[in-house]
């Protein structure tokens, strides 16, 4: 990867990932970055949401269009694109399923379009949970399923973490599909 570029405004040589030119202070053209690189975070599954959020606000304070209200058209445009990229990256990293997918993609694993279950028993398990959640009648019943789901989600996340460590990307993907269904059922329950 290139490590330097020229400032579009003053033409001085600056770092490739620099957001603002060190020489003239002008906002740079956005470069395409992996969501982890947007926040300079290690590319791993475990994430500290507090740190992510702090970094998000810090970047926003630097890049948000409100800070470029009197700037040139170019800078205004760059600010708009930068902020959108930061918003998208924040969303991807903040959500378990999309963060897993981003990490799989980065690891070179091809995510197939077809998100079906390889394992019939998993499919049956999901179907059963789905049916249970659809036929909830009382608040206590709902609470019961919710705590049941919570345990399952936690378990799946633990598995995923381990699969990542062992570089078992296919297993990560399968668990990730299961996780996304568990979360969907959980959300629909509310």
């Amino acid at each position: 990867m290139t490590s330097s570029k020229n400032c579009w405004s003053c033409n001085k040589t600056i770092g490739y990932k620099d957001l603002v030119c060190k020489a003239c202070g002008v906002l740079q053209k956005p470069v395409e970055l992996n969501p982890f690189d947007v926040f300079s975070l290690a590319k791993k599954f475990e994430i500290n949401k507090k740190i992510l959020e702090d970094k998000y606000f810090k970047l926003q304070s630097l890049l948000h269009p409100d800070k470029f209200i009197n700037a040139s058209q170019e800078e205004k445009h760059f600010s708009n694109v930068h902020t959108s990229l930061v918003n998208n990256a924040f969303k991807i990293l903040g959500d378990d399923v999309s963060r897993i997918k981003a990490l799989l993609e980065y690891s070179g694993y091809q995510i197939s379009e077809n998100e079906s279950f390889q394992d019939v028993s998993v499919l049956e398990e999901i179907m059963e949970l789905q049916n249970m959640s659809m036929s909830v009648e009382s608040e206590s019943e709902k609470k019961k399923i919710q705590s049941h789901l919570k345990v399952k989600i936690k378990k799946e996340i633990k598995k995923i973490s381990q699969f990542f460590n062992e570089k078992k990307y296919k297993d990560v993907h399968n668990s990730c599909i299961k996780l996304s269904y568990l979360q969907k059922i959980n959300i629909n329950l509310k």
Binding site: E32, L33, N34, P35, V38, F57, Q60, S61, H64, P65, D66, I69, N70, Q73, N80, V81, T83, S84, L85, N87, N88, A89, F90, K91, I92, A102, E113, I187, K190
Partner: protein, 596 residues
């Protein structure tokens, strides 16, 4: 202007940049500005609330508290309500003049500009304008255009509940998770915000752009007529109906202090003194209030937030003064309610604070979201969401689409806003045709559609045929008004004079409209031969020739007439283009390309 009363004469000159904070309301508008660390309200005849009412008197518009002793039926009320429908619709139609919602609002904005300049004793163009969070993009750009035509340089469009929360955050040092319950004259918004040191972030927003305090007045009037006169409000003549509703509004306001009111009411044939109990008011507005509570609950669910973790609920909008609202909210949510900043003024105050920080710099950050999902129509009349609701703005998303018929050379792109799956249940923002695709088998072309939603909530859409690299080949665009992009360029760039001169703005708008129309027609000339009779083609070409001549002159009315002529003459043709051979739907999505 000697009509204007100046309450605080002799403002100290300073180096700070001034920016008005304008809350353009359905019933009342409020304008304020931050000077020397203080928020000052611009008064209209010594009143901070300027009724959003316009009266046309021989071409001249009277606005707000200027209007005295006029028949109520000659006044134009609640113009803001038309924006969610169509800001370009004619709402005042008389022999003397035809006025659209944008024209009428422009009068209010001009008036606000005028009284502000008189008060500040200086020219002022910059403003931050507030809109209901739940306003769609058509309504937002309509309001923006209207203020632009009045001579304003709108530095930001911010959501009303967000502005209010900003004011609470700065003024009252509120920190934590807060709901803002904003019931205006014509709209209801609720936003969930996280307020922390230096960051004011909207997490989610919900609402109803057609539910407001005005509806409460009508419901109350209905109940009174039914209870005491056994009559339906709908059976009453329009003029009288407005009078009765206004009367009920004032009774409603008096219930803030009393529980029983003796009032004489005139319904035409009879006038009677009636003794009204507060319970009657409470009962008649119960349904819409319950509706707002459901919207609040849905928002909390959607944001995955439990009410017990919310630190308080902030009341905004004059209509929230109704006691029953507070009672119901406490009963339902058991939450601390805040209304210590005047619910009528707090939105404008927040806008003025934000405007000041924008122009003079600040460490504070205001982060907002889009209230409604944006997408395009795909096969079978379904909406494919590209930017989902409650996404932080600005947001840029791209998605690849393909054709669904062999040798398809053009596609129609229909831009939608809303939450429903079926296109027809959502709001169509615009339509355009991307033509000149290379004929290829179905499913092969890759058309990249890019949605860019900026921080004002204004949307820009472009489409590229990736194989030919043809960008934005917008052949037929239904919406031919001055686009926001062009408007912004006008304000910020070369047309310095246009900033001052409204007529010049209107002329430029007209010229852009005309040039755009000519370009659009030139783009489809090859098809004209196929789809039009030679007679029709000739007529169209003649008007274009005339138009080109007029474009060199500065005769706005003539150009406008030619635009109307040309639109009329090409109406059939434009419809044929959309209907003919082209397959109407963009094919199914083949993959998602969320840029990250």
């Amino acid at each position: 202007m000697n009509l204007v009363n100046i309450s605080e004469p002799g403002i100290k000159k300073s180096s700070e940049a001034l920016c008005l904070g304008i809350d353009f309301g359905t019933t009342n508008s409020v304008c304020s500005v931050k000077i020397n660390k203080k928020i000052i309200y611009i008064e209209d005849f010594k009143k901070r609330l300027l009724p959003s009412v316009v009266f046309y008197e021989n071409q001249k518009a009277l606005v707000g508290n200027q209007i005295k002793n006029k028949s109520i039926s000659d006044l134009i009320f609640s113009v803001k309500r038309f924006f969610t429908d169509n800001p370009d619709q004619i709402i005042f139609d008389q022999v003397s003049a035809k006025k659209t919602a944008i024209d009428v609002s422009k009068e209010i904005f001009s008036y606000i500009k005028n009284i502000s300049e008189n008060f500040l004793k200086q020219n002022i163009d910059d403003c931050v304008l507030t809109v209901p969070a739940y306003f769609d993009e058509k309504a937002r750009s309509g309001i923006m255009r209207s203020a632009f035509l009045a001579g304003f340089n709108v530095r930001r469009l911010i959501n009303e509940p967000t502005a209010a929360a900003f004011a609470y955050g700065l003024e009252k040092k509120k920190r934590g998770l807060f709901l803002v319950y904003d019931l205006g004259g014509g709209t209801f918004d609720v936003s969930l915000l996280e307020l922390r040191e230096g960051v004011f972030r909207v997490i989610g927003t919900g609402g109803d752009a057609r539910l407001g305090g005005d509806d409460f007045d009508i419901l109350f009037a209905k109940s009174i007529l039914k209870e005491f006169f056994s009559t339906n409000l709908s059976e009453i003549k329009n003029d009288l109906k407005i009078k009765i509703v206004k009367k009920c509004q004032s009774i409603k306001e008096n219930f803030l202090k009393k529980n029983k009111i003796l009032e004489s009411i005139n319904i035409g044939e009879e006038e009677r003194k009636v003794n009204i109990d507060k319970e009657l008011l409470n009962k008649s507005v119960e349904e819409p209030i319950n509706k707002t509570i459901t919207i609040v609950e849905n928002l909390l669910n959607e944001c995955n937030v439990n009410i017990s973790s919310v630190d308080g609920l902030i009341l905004v909008g004059g209509s929230t003064r109704l006691e029953i609202i507070k009672n119901k909210l406490v009963e339902k949510f058991n939450i601390n309610i805040f209304s210590d900043l005047d619910p009528d003024l707090v939105v404008s105050c927040g806008a003025a604070m934000h405007g000041y920080e924008l122009l003079n710099g600040s460490k504070n950050l205001l982060l907002d979201v889009t209230p409604l999902s944006l997408g395009i129509e795909t096969m079978g009349g379904l909406m494919e969401k590209i930017i989902p609701r409650n996404s932080p703005i600005p947001a840029i998303r791209e998605q690849i689409f393909t054709t669904n018929e062999n040798s398809q050379t053009s596609i129609k792109i229909k831009i939608l806003q809303g939450e429903r799956e079926v296109t027809s249940a959502n709001n169509t923002l615009d339509e355009f045709v991307l033509s000149g695709l290379e004929p290829k088998p179905a499913g092969i072309p890759r058309i990249k559609v890019r949605f860019s939603l900026d921080v004002d909530g204004i949307l820009f859409v472009s489409a590229i045929d990736e194989s030919s690299g043809k960008e934005n080949n917008l052949v037929v665009k239904t919406n031919d008004q001055l686009s926001i992009q062009e408007m912004r360029e006008l304000v910020s760039s070369s047309f310095q004079n246009a900033k001052k001169d409204i007529d010049l703005r209107l002329l430029i708008e007209t010229k852009i409209k005309a040039t755009k129309l000519i370009n659009e027609i030139n783009n489809v000339k090859p098809m004209m031969k196929k789809l039009c009779s030679s007679e029709e083609s000739k007529e169209i070409n003649n008007i274009i020739k005339l138009m080109k001549v007029e474009l060199k002159s500065d005769n706005k009315d003539k150009i406008n007439n030619l635009i109307d002529d040309l639109n009329e003459k090409t109406k059939n043709f434009a419809q044929k283009i959309i209907d003919s051979n082209f397959s109407n739907f963009v094919g199914k999505e083949i993959d998602t390309m969320d840029k990250s």
